[in-house]
């Protein structure tokens, strides 16, 4: 799996045919180009280059950033915690709002609250992240002067980017919780639980929520990818020093070793999250094993 990912990353930056022509300035002579090509081993066959790249990656060598003149891996690892922080905050926020909202709208089905919740979820899923981010800056930073427009350093800096990034996932989770709770509330198991005389609150939270747990975790696995993708845009808007902003910066600097390293790192996070999700199934549902 990771082998395939590394190959994809490598092939991506060779899509243009020749990374050198993208890197040199317009004044470079043919001789300069040849020299650079040889120094980067680009005169060797494609698969030899890939083998060299992979060999380097396995030893922790992702090449040198052309823009910062530092090892690309170091730059990536420096940014890595910021992206994790932002994505985790967004996910936490999404769950914090979406799960109670989903439960309430399932319990009070077709009520005004339910309708409002569904409407908000749909809007959250449909709103372009970068636009939402800009509007939040306009409202909370420029007009109300409550929160910083960008950068990092304090919890206050984290609020706007996290809200922006959470919107999409929040909508998805709320709707998912609602449909699963509806199924659960009508199931025989819950009818039994009610018949036993358990309080409605206990019935809903203990039995209903357990049924919704697996789909929620599955969705988190599926959304890890879109959450990190959204982070690319969100980080750019809020000048959040994470991996996504690094990719965008590296691209505008035509720094392909850095793009490779950062992209590979993001893909590894996605694979890792999905692995954790797969493993968590057996904890959530004893019927699933292995």
């Amino acid at each position: 799996m990771l082998l395939g990912v590394s190959f994809a990353v490598f092939a991506l930056s060779h899509l243009s045919g020749d990374p050198v022509s993208l890197m040199v300035g317009p004044t470079a002579t043919q001789a300069d180009i040849e020299a650079l090509r040889q120094s980067m081993n680009l005169d060797r066959p494609f698969f030899m280059q890939y083998a060299a790249f992979l060999g380097g990656v396995l030893q922790g060598d992702f090449g040198t950033s052309l823009w910062q003149h530092q090892p690309a891996l170091g730059l990536v690892l420096e940014r890595f915690p910021f992206t994790i922080q932002l994505a985790a905050a967004a996910l936490f926020l999404a769950l914090l709002v979406a799960v109670p909202l989903g439960i309430l709208s399932a319990v009070y089905r077709n009520s005004l609250l339910d309708r409002l919740a569904i409407g908000t979820s749909l809007v959250g899923q449909s709103v372009p992240g970068f636009w939402l981010g800009l509007l939040l800056i306009l409202l909370f930073s420029v007009t109300l002067r409550l929160l910083p427009t960008g950068g990092s350093g304090s919890l206050l800096h984290l609020i706007l980017p996290a809200v922006t990034l959470a919107a999409f996932t929040m909508g998805r989770i709320a709707r998912l919780v609602r449909t699963n709770m509806l199924d659960a509330l009508n199931s025989d198991a819950l009818r039994t639980a009610r018949a036993k005389g358990l309080r409605e609150m206990t019935v809903v939270l203990k039995h209903g929520l357990r049924n919704a747990a697996i789909p929620i975790v599955t969705l988190i696995g599926l959304d890890a990818s879109s959450l990190l993708g959204g982070a690319v845009i969100t980080e750019t808007i809020f000048a959040w020093p994470g991996l996504g902003r690094l990719v965008v910066q590296a691209i505008s600097q035509r720094d392909f070793p850095l793009v490779q390293a950062a992209t590979l790192c993001i893909a590894v996070i996605v694979v890792a999250v999905n692995l954790i999700v797969d493993l968590s199934y057996s904890f959530l549902d004893p019927r699933v094993s292995g």
Partner: protein
Amino acid sequence: MTTQVASEPRRRRKGKVPATILVSAFLLAVIIVSAVAAPFVAPHDPLAQDLLNRSLLPPAFAGGSWAYPLGTDALGRDLLSRIIYGGRVSLLVGLTATMIAGFLGLVIGVLAGYFGGWLDIVFMRVADVQQAFPFILLAIVVMAVWGPGLVNLIIVLGVTGWVIFARVIRSLVLVIKDQEYVQAAIALGTSTRRILWKHVLPGVTSTLLVLATFAFVQFILAEAALSFLGLGVPPPAPTWGGILSEGRVYMVMAWWITALPGVAILLTVLTVNLIGDWVRDRLDPRLRH
């Protein structure tokens, strides 16, 4: 547009259409018609500049002039006209990319599902690898390498968007192939081509349509995000993401340049999502998630 076609015969059978869907369909129709008929609908030339007299006029409802209903940008260009013309790009990109992704996904999904074997293994491995990359990140990197442009954008979105189509259609084909009538057709010696056309393809059409609405929405958002980052369709061609990105500089003085194109994106995506959800519940409740 595809969703409307799909919902038409259903309406007669089911009788009642919720008000939300009617409103959504109407709004979407307005957006589509104004984009298609942009030269007739737009009050001004979207590229006509007037730096001296019209720069940064606010919208009419915020104290501007009705000659420029949604105000103007820093170069004195009419915002409403730019948004209407921008819709052309967004809808064109969304629609063509959806068609490419849908076609690729359909072919790969049917091949992988029906024939199985090494073909299936290879395609699903590739899908696994591709899904490790956030869709938008992949598009950003490829656009950066290829350079901005309308055709590049359509190809990149279309080619990177096949995975969801292929996965869902593959699993559906696996189910269809196991059905008794298909097994009977195979046993009777019906040609593979005939089985694919007569049994498999009709079985996946409704799912394909539903998936298409969701892909379309994703592509519209991706186009806007890429144009916003300067990796989509290059200026001066107006695009929703592009207008927004230009307006960002003047955000504090002229909120409308940033806010209003986003409303257009939101309305398009929201109405297609609503209609898509509704069609899905009618046609194929299994796809609920």
